[in-house]
């Protein structure tokens, strides 16, 4: 008889290891209870009227549309960037990878300040956009998208890069021996293989863009219908009318849950 045979049933019938279960439950409770608080304090009788107010619908539409555009831009720029980081060797690749993760760790408001100093009307680059092309980015929905791409794209890049590193390179090598060009290999072999990774990255990126606050309010400002996304609307409402802030928060929560549930179903369990 080996030790293994005796051990397996004992492990199964063993008590729940409370040193793990207790913190796990506490962690779960901690993450869920704030939302329970939102539900408890929500002004249910006036809910129907409040969520159909034009300001709420405008903020919701702006949030959904900018987050979606930001995700598309991030896919367009981020997937090639992830490919470059995962599949090519060039001097400074490690540094480039580290730089990509900076927006993940710095407070978004710092990103907003940086964007304003670079792309603002008087910024390092922005002054030329302003004087040569009469383009002013701050206070426009484009600025909202730029802020969102800045903070959300790294999530996509890291996720796709991980998928690329995990993918079996022998398929790409086989395609290369059969004479496929690098672009063909990328579009016909690599992309289909890492599609679930791209999907998961896009969902993360979209969610992060939807929740973006600091960079947006700093760089894009706050004007209803133009740059006031849901998180900004929640923050501003909280200054005067906490009930309105609760309603907005619940709407955002519900939309996030619905979209993430739908997308997870579709993308991450293919």
């Amino acid at each position: 008889m080996s030790r293994r045979d005796r051990r397996v049933p004992r492990t199964r019938s063993g008590r729940m290891p409370w040193v793990l279960v207790l913190p796990a439950l506490a962690g779960l409770l901690f993450l869920v209870s704030p939302f329970a608080g939102l539900l408890l304090r929500a002004p249910w009788p006036t809910m129907g009227r409040r969520i159909t107010e034009p300001e709420v619908l405008a903020a919701l539409w702006l949030s959904l549309s900018t987050a979606t555009v930001a995700t598309l831009v991030s896919l367009f720029l981020g997937v090639p960037l992830a490919w470059m980081l995962a599949r090519t060797e060039f001097p400074g690749r490690r540094l480039a990878r580290a730089l990509v993760t900076i927006p993940l760790v710095i407070p978004p408001v710092v990103g907003g300040v940086a964007l304003l100093l670079v792309l603002g009307r008087n910024g390092v680059v922005g002054q030329y956009l302003h004087s040569w092309f009469a383009i002013t980015l701050p206070f426009t929905p484009t600025a909202v998208v730029i802020a969102q791409v800045f903070v959300a794209m790294p999530f996509l890049v890291i996720s796709v890069e991980g998928a690329l590193r995990g993918a079996d390179r022998r398929y790409e090598e086989a395609a290369a021996t059969l004479g496929a060009s690098r672009v063909t290999i990328f579009t016909r072999v690599t992309l289909p293989m890492v599609l679930p990774g791209i999907g998961a990255g896009a969902v993360l990126c979209w969610a992060r863009a939807l929740g973006e606050f600091g960079a947006t309010i700093t760089f894009a400002g706050n004007f209803p219908g133009t740059t006031q996304t849901m998180p900004l609307a929640v923050y501003v409402a909280m200054q005067r009318d906490p009930e309105a802030a609760i309603v907005l928060s619940l709407v955002l929560l519900l939309v996030c849950l619905a979209v993430l549930a739908a997308l997870r179903e579709r993308w991450t369990n293919p």
Partner: protein, 269 residues
């Protein structure tokens, strides 16, 4: 094949790591308390526009009362009122808005003895009036409030949910002007920053904000500002653990602190 059983030494290591983690969390959170365990502490919740002056006044207050340590929480008045309402420990509240002080008076309340002597809704400490702030050199050539309604003038105002936004709305209505702002900022400092960086041609901020950014922005006075003079009430809170010290602070601010407040651009009530 040897199976990966957690040996006793690994188990001890895991316990050790867990204990170390717990100790670290406890240690760090204990540091946050900031208390040295001796002397008296005074916690002042004050409107963000009082930041510079209160910090300056606190230095002389602490010189006069070496055993006292003054701790500040500066934020928007309504945010502070919410925090006080949620039980945040504060001795003194200085708001940039009389209505918000009234909310706190009705909710948590002021210290009864102090309020009986100085006013049930707090003591009006200072006033503040709006100014048109323009970037240094006034590139858009703004001269009066009516210029803000110009078609190609980019304007930043406070959101109407915050006090400076409500005041801006009042003066614009008094002047019967339709201004299309590019942005409604979350607080007055954000408006000032947008002006300072020359991202907008003009913004409405308080006189004290113009003083704080002297050299980087210019302030223009205008008549309609009289329609929305902002009063700053201050009061000792009922929940204060040391109402005597809190009253001493309020007294000190109104007497010794007066020149500092005036220098910063505040008006006298």
């Amino acid at each position: 094949m040897p199976e990966p059983t957690p040996g006793p030494s690994q188990g001890r290591a895991a316990h050790g790591a867990g204990a170390a983690l717990a100790a670290l969390v406890l240690g760090v959170t204990a540091c946050w308390g900031g208390s040295t365990g001796q002397g008296r502490e005074l916690t002042v919740f004050a409107a963000a526009s009082l930041t510079d002056v209160f910090e300056e006044i606190a230095v002389s207050f602490e010189e006069e009362h070496p055993e006292v340590e003054v701790t500040f929480n500066f934020a928007g008045s309504s945010q502070l009122a919410q925090q006080i309402g949620s039980g945040a420990p504060a001795d003194v509240f200085a708001a940039a808005d009389t209505e918000i002080m009234e909310q706190v008076v009705e909710g948590e309340g002021l210290a009864a003895d102090w309020a009986a002597e100085h006013g049930e809704d707090g003591l009006v400490l200072v006033t503040n009036t709006l100014r048109i702030a323009v970037p240094a050199g006034n590139p858009a050539g703004i001269e009066e409030l009516a210029d803000l309604a110009g078609d190609d003038v980019t304007v930043a105002l406070c959101a109407q949910e915050v006090p400076c936004g409500a005041a801006s709305l009042t003066v614009l209505e008094a002047a019967d002007l339709k201004v299309a702002p590019a942005t409604l900022e979350e607080d007055v400092r954000a408006v000032l920053t947008k002006v300072e960086l020359d991202e907008v041609d003009a913004g409405l901020v308080y006189a004290t904000d113009v003083t704080s950014a002297e050299g980087r922005v210019e302030g223009l006075e205008f008549d309609e500002a009289e329609e929305a003079v902002n009063h700053y009430p201050i009061g000792v809170l009922a929940a204060s653990g040391d109402p005597g010290l809190a009253a001493a602070w309020v007294e000190f601010v109104t007497t010794e602190g007066a020149p500092v407040l005036r220098k910063a651009g505040f008006g006298t009530p």
